[in-house]
Structure formats: structure tokens, C-alpha cells
Assembly symmetry: D2
Homo-oligomer: 173 residues x 4
Amino acid sequence: MDTLDDSGRDRERKRTIVWDDPQINKRDAVSAISGLDYLRSIRDGKISPPPAAKLIGYQLKDVDYGFAAFELHPGEHHYNPFATVHGGILSTLLDTAMTAAVLTTLPQNITCSTVEIKVNFIKPVTAESKLVRCEAKIIHSGRKLATVEGRIKGGNDELYAHGVSTCLIFKVN
Amino acid sequence: MDTLDDSGRDRERKRTIVWDDPQINKRDAVSAISGLDYLRSIRDGKISPPPAAKLIGYQLKDVDYGFAAFELHPGEHHYNPFATVHGGILSTLLDTAMTAAVLTTLPQNITCSTVEIKVNFIKPVTAESKLVRCEAKIIHSGRKLATVEGRIKGGNDELYAHGVSTCLIFKVN
Amino acid sequence: MDTLDDSGRDRERKRTIVWDDPQINKRDAVSAISGLDYLRSIRDGKISPPPAAKLIGYQLKDVDYGFAAFELHPGEHHYNPFATVHGGILSTLLDTAMTAAVLTTLPQNITCSTVEIKVNFIKPVTAESKLVRCEAKIIHSGRKLATVEGRIKGGNDELYAHGVSTCLIFKVN
Amino acid sequence: MDTLDDSGRDRERKRTIVWDDPQINKRDAVSAISGLDYLRSIRDGKISPPPAAKLIGYQLKDVDYGFAAFELHPGEHHYNPFATVHGGILSTLLDTAMTAAVLTTLPQNITCSTVEIKVNFIKPVTAESKLVRCEAKIIHSGRKLATVEGRIKGGNDELYAHGVSTCLIFKVN
């Protein structure tokens, strides 16, 4: 059984992840409802988040047309060999928020995928950072491509990382 | 209890991660031994991999001066809302391999951190990809900065993603 | 002799560039005065712009702590094989503005150089775009590294390109 | 009148650029012939290079399916405020070579444009570098998108800059 201390760290150095059938997410995210409706359903707990959200532990907090915000409680289980949160975890958070921001603008049967992402790491995140928030907003949305930017900040508005991404927009057949 | 099928996927949609004290990794990765000796110890099972390696599930397979290769069995637990491996997981794999390639060139008390990473996603990875391998090699190594590139490929040499990264090299005080 | 029409285009398809000794620029930009004073002197016409500014034809219009704005009259002489302004010209404009924004924060004998730049091209620029403006502002400025972003826009606020860059900050010996 | 010395530098700090109608280039590059035939015609002097090539001064030297190499004599007219070749000039050279490498793979009426470019600057180029060569080759070419990499090197194989780029491939209507 998990016993978490104040910093959100598992004193037992063990964590159990449980997830749901990702095909249900796929159906909703891509075809059944619009991107914005899908994300609102995730935010409101009506749809279970995809497996990666459970694995990494981030949560969708706010979503609007062209905008998405996710939060993460950084913990020791996210650590790289330097005992700070792995940059890949921060990249995952940025990719998640930036793709979500694009998804908010897409109707049913139109979806997107990340063509490329670019992340700058400004300051290490540790379990002592307690909670980080990643906000993403669209820079430009075209017919085939969209660009989007995101920033990860801590409690007192300090910047941990920022990124920019290009997404391909396409019809689902 | 975990029951894994052939593809490394958990049929029960549950996964338990166990890790070790990351401060031990930090001491070895940064100060106690050279970067190459640290990584060889990880590869040979003499040092426990850092928590993020346990969380994501990648393993160091090959390491040499200026080079590192990691492998990952992609599974459903890595999936994004589109039922493919989250791009952030691939970014994590690339960041891990690219940083390791730089670390191989650094003596004791000299370490590095990723300044920025740029990843292009070419083809989706799924559990059916079975095993992906990420190889990274240094492009240029200077006194203050190094640049490094990496590629993620599948069994029959198909390209899934590629990246480039800039690392800052610095003395540990 | 040059004969320019309304769009800033040389009807004779000939252009003569004249520049001044770049060592004078170097002395002022790096050592003699602060970065902000150097750039203000360029803006006010007290120091001749560096050769690349004459070659490409951009001009510094506004400068403040952490901020710089340059303008360019796009012309046929900037064209690539597709008869639009070469992306490299837009990258040059972004690099110029972003580096200038970092330079504004640096005192005498501290300078910077671009480690890497990343540019997204949104919409082609042509001579018909008449005038484009590139604004850059610092995202984060540290002791060794700074990150900065820039956008190129046209008259009615339409976005042509945006970029982000990492600069190394160092003492001049 | 221009007086050029051995290094291609204008001792008088004056340079006159002459170019041809870019619409002729556009017709050939996009529609009249395949990308490879267009570039071979440029290389062999049968088609005049586009204006930007004249402005910056680079020349196509080698071209093959998925590959292109351009050369540049760096001069004082390329200098930034730090009396080295402006990074934007190097970005232009990389963008040119990388786009050309993609163009070599495209038939008539199919063309490409740069979605985004990322350049790392390794070592300053000066007039003393005499001649730099930029080689680009395709990493992956898909139906809608291609990725390509390039490197700028000097005489004794020293690396000045490297880049990666994403191109959009599309039919010309």
C-alpha cells in the first residue's frame, strides 16, 4: 500500500498505476465528440484520462478554445540520474498541454498529431517544487498545420521550462 | 498481481513501479566515478537505474565514448488519447540517450544538463512495435556546450522519431 | 543607378550595398558601452549598423531593456526559387532582434552569442507585404544562458513567422 | 566600382548585386521541370540562381536525389555587430541546402516549403574561414512532410553549424 509524505513522495518507493482501455479515449478524442468536448469531459471526470496521464500523473485542470492547462505533483519517481525531475517528464507535460490546446479547436473527425516539439529547460524541478502547472495556447492555426506554445511554472510564477510545437491537422478516415 | 502477455502489455491494466534512492544515482552519475563508468555500471546491473527509467521502462543497452543506446518495450500504459505511445515518452527516451552520450565524455565532478531538446515524430509507436531502440551520438563537444543527436528505430530499421539536443557542461561544486 | 519603385523594389534588378568597418561595431557592441547604449546609438543613427543590416536591409526601430524591434521592406532581391522572401532572410531578422533583446540586458564587457535558433514559418512574405516588423522579448535571462522569443508581423497584425532562441552570455577577455 | 580581393571581400566596402526575374525561377522550380532537373540546371549555369543566392552569394555545387551542397565565400559584408558572419546568413545557407535536398525528390507540380528550421551555431565563421560548404541530406520523406538535416563545415572539416528542418510537401494548383 502507498504511503505518501507531505512532498507527495512515496516513502516506500513504490507506485501502482491503473488505467483504462485507451481505445475508448481514442474514440472520444478523435471521432465521437469535438476536441473541446472531449477535453472538458476529461477535466470533469466523465471520461478516464489516457494511460500516459496515469503513468506520469498529470491532470487536466483548465481548457478553453485554443488553451489548455495541466498540473503535476513532481515526485521522486520522476527523477533522472541527477535527482531532479527528468526533462522528458517536462517535455511530456508540455506536449500534452500543447496538443490539447490544438485539439480544442478541432471538430469531430478532425484530429491532430505533433510533428515536432522544441523544449527549453530553465530550472530543475524537484519534489520540493510541490506542484507545477503547464499552460499552452495556440500561436497560429491553419488548415493543415498549427503552432502552439507552452510554459511550465511553479507556485510563485517561476519558470521551469517552455516549449513550442508544430501540429499536423488531418481528417480521420 | 501482474500478468503480462507476449507484447509486454499488462492485461490487467495495472503496473507497479519500484525504485531506489535517487541520491545514490546522483552521487555516482556526478561525482564518484566518470560518466562512462557510471553508465557502464548501470548497463551491467551494478547500479540501479534512476526512478524515471523504472517509471517509463527503458533500459540502457550499449554505451561507449560519445555514444549511448537505450531500448523500450512500448505498451498500452504509454498511450496518449490517440491510442499510440505518447510523444513525450519518445522525447524522454531521446533525452535520456542524448544526455547519456554527452555524459560518457565527462570526467568525475564534471556533469551536464539539457539546455534544450528538439524532437521530430515520424511514425506512431504502438505496443505492436514490440521493441524500439534509441541511439544517440555526439555531434560536437566543446568546453561549455555539447550538441548531440538521436534516433528511435524499430525492428526493421524503420524510423519513429529523431532529435537533437544542446547540453550545458559544468563543474560540480 | 538605383531606381526604386513604391514597393521598395529595384526596377533595374540591381542593388548596391555600402557598409562600414565592422570592427567599430564590435568595439561598441561588446566593450565600449553597454548593450542598451550600443543599440540606442544604432537606432538614433549615431553608430552605423553592422554590414549584415546593410546587406539584408533591416533597421532597428525600437529598443528597451529586454526588448528590440526591427523592420524590413521585403523586396524581390530577397526572393527564393518560389518567388517569396527566403526563409533565411526571416530567420536573419528574428536572430537579429532576439540577440538584440538579450544584448539590451548586458553591461560593458559582457556579451552574448546565439547558441541555437528555431523558427516557424507561417505565411510567405512578398514585396507586396510592403513592411514587416520583428519584435523580440526575453523569456528568461540567467547567469550563463538566456532564452528569447520573436515574431514577424505585417501591417494588419498578420503573423508571418515566429522563433525562439537560446543565447550564451559570457565575459569578454 | 568594385575591387574584390582574393577572399571575395570588397576592399572598398561596397558590393553591387544584380539578379534576374524570380518568376522564371518559380516556374522552373515548381512546375516546368522536376526538382532535381531544376537544381541541376542551376548547378550547370543553365538557369540563373534566385535573387537571394545573388544577395547572400552562395552557390549550388552538388546535387543528387535527397542531397544538396552549397558553398559560400564568407566576407565582411556578412558580418554582425560582433565582426563574425551573422548567424542568419548561416541559417539561410542551411535552409537553402535543406530545402533543395527535399526538392530533389519531388516531381513536376509537387513542391515544398519549410515549416520550421532549427540551427545550432558551433563556431563563428569569419572572412578568414575563406570557404564554407553546407551539405544537406533527407532524414525521412513522407507523403505530406519531410525532415532533413544539414551541416556547415570549413576546409579542414571543422564544424561551424548544423541544422534540421521540417518541410511540407504539396501539389501546386
